[in-house]
Amino acid sequence: MTGTEAGSYLDSLIRVQAQPPAAHSSPAWLKQLRARALERVGALTVPTTRDEDWRFTDLSPLTRLSWHPVQGAPQLASADLERLSLPEAAARLVFVDGRYAAQHSFNHSGLTVANLPAGMAEHGASVEAHLGRHARFEQDAFTAVNTAFLHDGALIVVARDAVLEAPVQVLCISTQKETASYPRCLVIAQPGSRLTIIEEFAALHQGACFTNAVTEMALADNARVNHVRVQRDSEAAFHIGNCAVSLAHASRYHAVGIAFGARLSRYNLNVLLAEEGAECAIDGLALIGGRQLADSHTLIDHAKPHGLSRQLHKCIVDGSAHSVFNGKIMVRPGAQRTDSSQSSRNLLLSGKARVDTKPQLEIFADDVKCAHGATVGQLDAEEVFYLRSRGLSDAAARMLLTYAFGAEVIGRIGVASLRRRLERAVQAQTSRAA
């Protein structure tokens, strides 16, 4: 694939996606933001496996596909919505093929949980201050394309000292094959506030589609955000996700990222510990089989002293699937007393499954604690025998152990109904594999 062809691929994405008529009534700054992003789309190309960051993730199948414009009104059947809803949710925003579905959304949270164009009326200045500022599009083709189309999206503003125990759910559902969607989410957590947000990506079809999502979160002093991201796109889908998080003084961010779906998925999570005493815990689980590829690149950027980061990334890889993990920990000059640990643990369920895991530590301060480790292995034969000696079949024993491996990460999700739903999904997937 040459650069020109890749450039034209991005152009073709632009051509197929019409801006909604309402876009021309956007504020001037937003129009400019889109225009700058569009300019970058013209200059950037789709990365190839020659790029170090995309070494294992070949996007050329994506560039061979073309997409149709989304048809009709955004609409879900009530049974589908029911299946994906969370009884605990205080608010829900639903996007169908990238477009806001007001009739499926609600907000009992007392906070601003709204579609971007509506929410901007009240929070114009802070949205302008954050939107497109954390997820940089200058060097990233996919973020640039998403930003060039920026219109509908989730906006959540948690007011100063507001504490919302119940989760806010953002559902992005693909219902039409051979379409591309560009979900967008912005979370502004003001000082001392607390929020749990569940972002879920799912498809109601088995066909090819392209999801190119961008999420930005800004946590002010002492804010706390729990962020669960569930990717269950269709088996033939291409899923590219970018999430950028910025942490102010003593704020805390906990992420649990679950990737089950998509033929090819790539998730880039960048967490910037921008001020002193910020903390983050980043947990990830990929459960893939068949010919799936799940690629997770994370960057935890310790920019200031006394930062704390904890990371656990787990992959369960079956069939001839391939998981990629690149975990970069950056400790910038002066970020003394940084305390960071990272663990990558991988379970191979078949001889053809493949794992590439790479910790990447770049440490420019001397008074720091940074631990990391990676394991790749199969189910423990002694554990399997122990369970069989108690009457469990070989398949049941393997399923239970596989389930347990994944349950460690799922167990860190604070929303019981989602935990149960994911545990059932793991059981279904592992019993299919057994």
Binding site: D380, A381, E382, E383, F385, Y386, L387, R388, S389, R390, G391, L392, S393, D394, A396, A397, L400, L401, Y403, A404, F405, A407, E408
Partner: protein, 268 residues
Amino acid sequence: MIYQDSRTLLAVRDLRATVNGTEILKGIDLSVRSGEVHAIMGPNGSGKSTFAKVLAGHPAYAVSGGEVSFDGGNLFELEPETRSRRGMFLGFQYPIEIPGVANSQFLRLAYNTLQAERGKEELDPLEFDDFVREKMKLLEMNPDFLDRSVNEGFSGGEKKRNEILQMALLEPKLAILDETDSGLDIDALRIVANGVNHLATRDNAIILVTHYQRLLNYIKPDFVHVMDAGRIVKTGGSELALELEARGYDWVSAEFIASGTPKAEVGA
């Protein structure tokens, strides 16, 4: 106890087994009838655990000769899980830790698998909870152990109690308890031994693997066997355990070698 109308549960004839090509079991003969308690004693490394694991079907050991019938059928035709479902139970010398699997979930799964096999009703989590708590009382076990991962962070004694709890749930026909007494303090030993005595009936049998006579003060064996270098070199009544306690094992081996039994390949 030895009963007149008992039936043979286990018949082992000239059993040989290897691990990684090395022969560990070199011709074992043993017959166990319902109602009986057998003790297998012998020095470390004599092959006691290997024997127990071969009976349970551990895949690391290859049977290289001999026959074993269990409850009237050929044991070696059965998968490990089938052996368990037909009533064989191995209490492990070193019970494995399984992080991420709640003990209650594991115990219920094992119990319900067996219930299904026997065509009996399975228990839902609440029903099982009541049921298992009753069984735990027998072993004076804290119910907190239900919520923890299987054996994870359990002390040696707690692991052994958890093994006997599984025995209590599965009610095996033949329980092989491998060094269940090791790692137990005197109170725990008494509790575990009481539990085992409580579970012993005239329809089942127990093989106690131990190298101390201590346990046998609480659970009185009908037969005591001494293993050495992969063979049973002597069999006697419960008084043999006391003699071993007093004199050690060396004299038994010496006697065995001197007797020049036909199967012996001395010096191996």
